[in-house]
Every structure is written in structure tokens, then in C-alpha cells.
Amino acid sequence: MNLLAEAFSAALASLNAHRLRSFLTTLGILIGTMAVIAVVSVLQGFSDSISNQFSDLGSNTLTLDAINEQENFRTGRINRISFDDVETLRYRVPGVSRVAPIISPQLGGAAYRGRTTTPQILGATEESQDVLGVDASIGRFITASDDRNGRRIVVIGVDVRDELRMPKNPIGEYLLIGREWFRVVGLLEKRGEIFGFSQDNRVFIPFSVARSLTGTFERPFMEVSFTVENLAELAQVRERANRAIRLSRKLAPNAEPDFEIKAADSFIKQFNQITATATAVLAGIVGISLLVGGIGIMNIMLVSVTERTREIGILKALGATRRDILIQFLLEAALLSLLGGLIGIVLGLLAGMGIASLIPNFPPAHVPVWVMLAAAGFSALVGVVFGIAPASKAASLDPIEALRYE
């Protein structure tokens, strides 16, 4: 240990003697590490925020949605979830607990005292509160009674309130949606953004009201989220629902389904997959940049060994063994690379925070500690690996030749 500490301080002193050169040599490692930390910090911050947003959706929640290919939109034959499907889920599938259909009626914009905005208008039932995890921060959410009685009430998002310059507490104000007046009964909790789209620029009205305003001939876009009674039966309930919906949609036994039932966490899974792919690609790029950085270190270390040939000769004359010289130069290479890595980590963190703060409403950057440790360890490893050739060259110098070297 004493020997290592000795070699460590010798290596530091030697790097310190050529500060500029050491810095330039390790620049490759520095930039590589900085890039990986910056990108990882942004990706991770993003991923964390996505996961948080979706954790509101319980894991016992399933979502029924129609499948539409590019072809469907082009020809206008768009698949939609029907009210029958909702009824089927509600009454014909054992194990389904609560069904929360969400309807998107095309009602146009919202207006308040001469100001207008175009929020996402959604028709929801009382169940949406639990199933989708939406709730009012002031006032209340839609109740079963609102739905039954077709009350013209609305629960609005904070963006809508702010856009229309309504009072901080908008309860009791009247809002014009389409051609109908709605009384505000609640303000939704703030949710922030996903992929840059605000989750607060929306209003909820009772499902029955949305349905009646849509008219009879038009079929609105609808999505149904539902929970299962017993989480352990999730897969079975999903399969049962699948069969029941196929029946209600009158699909031929071997026809491709025009709907899908997704688990709530499938989006998170998909996103994590994207993140993992991005990370893998990134790791490849970083690998290449560290390889280049490592070659740079090897190059300069070889130059340094040549320059210090006489010094090595002196040390050998004084009794340094091959191992002593080898350890000294290996440590020097590792330290050089590690320093680059450490500076890179710090700069990468700063860059990540900078990028995150430059993009409006972007989630804050975040790097797991293990990534930083791995980056530091890996950069040191690069130094050791690429230091082997120069160090063994130094160690195997003939002391007489080395002493004679000018």
C-alpha cells in the first residue's frame, strides 16, 4: 500500500509538471465522459418525469382503445370504440371493477368574458377520478349525479384558467364551451407536461353531456380505462374483455382486431425500451470516443517514456525493479484518464442541467450515482489498458542504454 501511495504521488507530480499537455491528452476522455453524462442526465430526468406522470395510473388499470393505421385515416374508415363496447365492459365481463370511458366530443373552443382558448374537451364519469387518477385541487370532480342529470358543469385545468384570465379560484364562474354555458365546479390538479404537451390545457365535462352534445350521427373518439377487481386476475380479465369486445364488435373469429387492450404501464415499458436503446447507442458512441481518447493517452505516454528515458535509467540504477517502473507509469496513465473522466463528469452534469433548463418546461436533469461511478471507473480502466504498452516499454528499458540517452 505504501508503495502504491508512493507511486501515486509520483504520478501526480509528473502530471503536474506537464499540466497543459496532461490536460490536452485527457481531453478525449474528458469530452467522451462529458457527452455521456450530459445525455444520460437529460434522458434520465426525462424518464423519471415520465414514470412519475404515469405512476398515477394504477397497475390494475387496463385501457381499451381503437387501432387505426395510416390507411384508416386516409380512407376515412376510422375505427372507434362504441358506447356498446362500454356497456359490454361494464356488464358482460366478470372481474371488471370500474369502467371509466373518456369521450372527446368536437365542441370547439372555450370562452370566458371575451377571451377564447381551445382546450382538450373530455367527457368523463365519476369513475375517471379513481381510474385515471385525475382530481380537483379546488372544488370537486364530476359526480355520478352530474352524469345522471346531465348537468352543464365543468372541471378545468390550470392552463385554461390562466389562458382565460379567470380568478385564481374559478369555482362558480361560467364558461362557454361550444354553444353551451357550463358552470365551473372544480380546478384540476396541475400535472405538467409530457413530451412538451401540457396536461393542464383540458376540461372535463360529464360523460352524458358530452355524449348528448355530440349529436346522434357522429361517433366521437372514445377511450375506455377500466380496473380489475383482483390484480392477480389481470391477464384473465384482459383476455375475457378481449373476447367480449370481439363479440360486441362482431369481428369474424380470425379477423385482425381493430382494438387493443393495453396495460397502463405498457407506455412506460415502451418508453423505457426507447431509453434503453438510446442508452445502448450512446454507450457505443462513448466506447468509440473513449477508445480514441485511450489511444491519445497511449501516444502521449509513449512520448513521455521516450522523453524520460534517462530518468528511468537513473531510477533503475538506484534500484527500481521492473514492477516499480511499471506501476508508476500505469498509475500515471490511469490517473491522467481518471482526471479527464472526473472533469468530464462535472462538466457533463453542468451541461445536462444547462440543456434541461434551456428547454422550457423540460424536467430537471438527473444522473444516477452508479452511472457517475461507472464513468469514473471506466475512464480509469481506459488509462490502465492503454497505459500497459507505454508502461511495459518503460519497465523493460535497459538501464545502461537509458542512462546514456540524451
Partner: protein
């Protein structure tokens, strides 16, 4: 103490084999003060390298303090150099970035000596050569004579059985040369075994014994007349 038996050293240069030492027999006892002289190309440097365990002979035996070193591996030779030999070079060969004290401490590093003890012994060695007030100076802050004194201190710090100096005054002016030679004289007087490789008769005259090498052979081995103090 030093015993060479039939030492032969050959170098292969291309297709030619050069015979640097053609069978040298030599004995140097404890506390001797020896000058190794000879023209360049005579083989005296090769002989010095072998005595200093920097090189191994092609044939023959080299027995240092009762131990045959001719068959030792590189790293074993390094340990022998560290314990038994104190080198002094013509161009001092100090480590430029290190202070006088650090330079003198360096051989003790390879002896795995604890730092505190190392420091103490190095400081003591520097005091012994009259540089007790220059511990933290770097080589470029010291004069030629002072640098060579640091080198002497470094050679002495490990208490080697042999002090081996290669043209120690070659880069010094005559007055400084005298100071350095006085230092060697004093060390010899204290019981140190000293071998000086030189081509200057003045320097060789300080020693008690002269060994002349020519064409890879010892051609003269004589005791010097005692010098007037």
C-alpha cells in the same frame, strides 16, 4: 569483497561480435580506494557496468560480498544495486523535478522504507556532504559542485558497500573537482570502499590503487605512492 573471475563480455553488433572484456580477473577488498583508468573504447565502462550490476557478463563469475551475481535476473540485480552500490555519474543524473531531499530519498523508496525514516536518513546524508541547508532546492537551483554533492549523498544514503563513480569530476571546474575529490578522500578515510572511473591522472592520483584497462584486459594494477597531505 569484489571478485571477478574470467569476466568476458561480448556484444553482437550486426554480424560482428565485439569483445569488450576479454577475461578480466580482479579483486578489490573492503575500504580500498581504486581508480579505474583507460582510454575510451578500452572496456572500462563495460567493466564498471558489470561491477555496478547494471550489466551481466557473458562469461565468468562476479562475486559481490560473497554472492555470485553473474546469474541473477534483472530484478534481482536491481535489488543488489539498491543495497550494495552507490552510483555517481559524470552529469550528476539527478531527477530534475525533485528537491535535493527527494532525490536523496529515492533509493530508499525502493527499499520500502517508511517515509519518516527515509526523510531523516536523507537529510542526514545531505548534511554529511555539507548541504544541510539546501534540502528543498531543486537541481537547477544548485551549482554543479552542489549537484554532485547531492548525487554523492544519494549514493551514500543506502549505506552501500561500494561507491562507484563514473568520471565524477568530468563536468566540474578544477576547483570544484578538488572539493569533490576531497569528499571522496574523506569518505574513504571513514572506511568507505570507493571505485572511481576516470581518464584524468590528477583524479586517479587521489586513489591508493590504479587499475588500467586496455583492449578489454587489465594491463596494469599498481598501488599509488602515498600522497602528501
Amino acid at each position: 569483497m569484489i571478485e571477478l573471475r574470467g569476466i568476458v563480455k561480448k556484444y553482437v553488433l550486426g554480424e560482428e561480435t565485439v569483445l569488450a572484456l576479454a577475461g578480466v580477473d580482479l579483486f578489490i577488498g573492503r575500504n580500498e580506494y581504486v581508480a579505474l583508468i583507460g582510454p575510451s573504447g578500452s572496456g572500462k565502462s563495460t567493466l564498471m557496468n558489470i561491477i555496478g550490476c547494471l550489466d551481466s557478463p557473458s562469461e565468468g563469475q562476479y562475486i559481490l560480498n560473497g554472492r555470485d551475481t553473474s546469474s541473477l535476473r534483472d530484478d534481482e540485480l536491481a535489488i543488489v544495486r539498491n543495497r550494495e552500490i552507490g552510483f555517481i555519474f559524470q552529469s550528476f543524473h539527478l531527477l530534475p523535478r525533485q528537491t535535493a531531499l527527494q532525490n536523496v530519498m529515492q533509493p530508499l523508496v525502493y527499499r520500502r522504507m517508511p517515509p519518516a525514516e527515509r526523510r531523516e536518513r536523507a537529510a542526514h546524508a545531505l548534511e554529511k556532504v555539507g548541504l544541510g541547508d539546501r534540502l528543498d532546492h531543486r537541481p537547477n537551483q544548485l551549482s554543479g559542485g552542489q549537484r554532485q554533492r547531492v548525487a554523492v549523498a544519494r549514493a551514500l544514503v543506502g549505506e552501500p558497500s561500494l561507491l562507484l563513480a563514473d568520471e565524477p569530476t568530468g563536468n566540474l571546474d578544477s576547483r570544484t573537482s578538488l572539493e569533490i575529490m576531497a569528499l571522496f578522500d574523506a569518505l574513504h578515510a571513514q572506511g568507505q570502499t570507493v571505485v572511481i572511473v576516470t581518464h584524468e591522472p590528477d583524479i586517479a592520483a587521489h586513489c591508493r590503487r590504479t587499475i588500467r584497462v586496455r583492449d578489454g584486459l587489465v594491463v596494469e594494477d599498481s598501488l599509488n605512492p602515498p600522497r602528501a597531505a
